[in-house]
């Protein structure tokens, strides 16, 4: 039987294998400098961090996350699974605690401390992540400062949950952390309800999530209007008014990459696998 850490790694692999996943790397599509193989190496590299998250008596989840990112980064594609691992770290710990429920995952999130926040900030030293400029009064907490921001975290006594709370209005991953992982668990339920090969279910759930809410990674890298338009197109694809494969090609060509939606899909896969979903 796979461990929680193994199911998390498998979730990363199944997520990237799902096709078509408009705008994202999948089995049949990749960017020239961000290829399918980088995601495979990223998932394998994250293993040690995921194992740390999977130990009840393991280090704080923020430190496990940092280790996962350091390992993930051992490939040339850059940031492959940062957001997915940020969701998986608390979910894997909740599974290790024997309580992989929305409230169990929230307990893990809410019990984080400044130490977890420091791990999260250090993770940014391993990889370039697209983020927005922080508000003026939070410049000393700009994640791009990496460990240089740790004194400010201590000075303000901010836990990782607090950090996520401050980004929840504009970042879909942070919103999962503070909102009881609602969409991740919803995705898991859909994954279980659908039939057929997992890579097809993944594609369907991805499209449903994308149709349901504008992708915050697209909003950050492009703008809100683009993110909203992509969700409209996803709805059209679900309704049969748009060919999902053509949409996938088009978004990859335009470099529009709904990464947050992929992160939540991976988190949903993990919850489903832990729930007994057979591959």
């Amino acid at each position: 039987m796979r461990t929680a850490a193994q199911n998390a790694e498998l979730a990363l692999l199944l997520e990237v294998a799902g096709t078509p996943k408009p705008g994202n790397v999948d089995r049949e599509r990749e960017y020239e400098d961000l290829r399918f193989e980088h995601f495979l190496a990223g998932a394998v590299g994250a293993q040690e961090g995921l194992r740390m998250a999977g130990r009840v008596d393991g280090p704080p989840v923020g430190e496990a996350f940092e280790q996962a990112i350091a390992g993930m980064r051992d490939q040339r594609g850059g940031n492959t699974q940062f957001g997915a691992l940020l969701l998986l770290a608390p979910l894997v710990r909740a599974a290790a605690d024997g309580n992989l429920t929305r409230s169990g995952a929230s307990d893990v999130a809410e019990s984080t401390t400044v130490t977890d926040a420091a791990g999260f900030y250090r993770a940014f030293e391993h990889v370039a992540v697209s983020v927005e400029d922080p508000p003026a009064d939070m410049d000393d907490l700009d994640v791009r400062r990496g460990s240089d921001a740790v004194p400010a975290l201590h000075a303000r006594d901010l836990s990782l949950y607090d950090v996520m709370d401050r980004s929840a209005d504009r970042d879909g991953v942070a919103r999962e952390w503070t909102g009881g992982f609602e969409r991740s668990f919803g995705a898991a339920a859909r994954m279980e309800a659908l039939a057929g090969p997992m890579t097809e279910r993944v594609a369907r759930v991805f499209l449903e999530l994308l149709a349901d809410e504008p992708d915050t990674f697209v909003a950050i890298n492009h703008d809100e209007a683009t993110a909203e338009r992509v969700s409209e197109r996803a709805r059209a694809a679900l309704e049969g008014d748009e060919d999902p494969d053509a949409l996938a090609e088009e978004l990859v060509d335009r470099g529009i990459n709904p990464g947050t939606t992929a992160d939540i899909t991976a988190a949903g896969l993990f919850v489903a696998l832990e729930g007994g979903l057979a591959i």
Copy 2:
């Protein structure tokens, strides 16, 4: 930096991602009951066995192999990576010993004992593997007997190397074990010499190996003539006289699956990754 066990797992993942790989599951092709996702789960499941192989002071490689197969089997596709893991177990141990060379790998193979052979036989209890009937005087050593054959192994004092030696004339994986892993190291050198995305290099090396020698898995499941004809077609594909994608489709349609060639490709990938090949 990835451990040897992680590189072995990544090799399994990169192997199955390579496309087109005529007759085998790849990123773009699968069988209805043996899908890409089964290989992903197989690779993740093999992790614990690979870790055992990767410990200098770990259990005998035959036992690590059995563990890898037991974990690999935790998916619905059946036998995904039996042969590849049989090659990887001694190669990972040689890497752990700091001597991943042809002679280092041969040392591992030659130092196996009856205990390793017993692990190998027990592995057959976890999964259905296509094998030929044994010669009449070896019926008590039929691998399909699983652990029931262990007393016969002890009675005849057969190491895993001895068992491989008895199959080397008809099984390409066994021939690697007794022939100093010649084709695996050759594949690694080719993998390093080629340029471009790994999934394309994998496809090229697979085709070269297939062109070079008839696949013994095809010979066992079909016949020698079929295996020879497939190698001819692979040569034609390399020479531009046959479209490799069309050949891939055709062989999948006909259920002709050059599995041994894929096993050696995976072994070559591992050796190349350990040699520093960057993804």
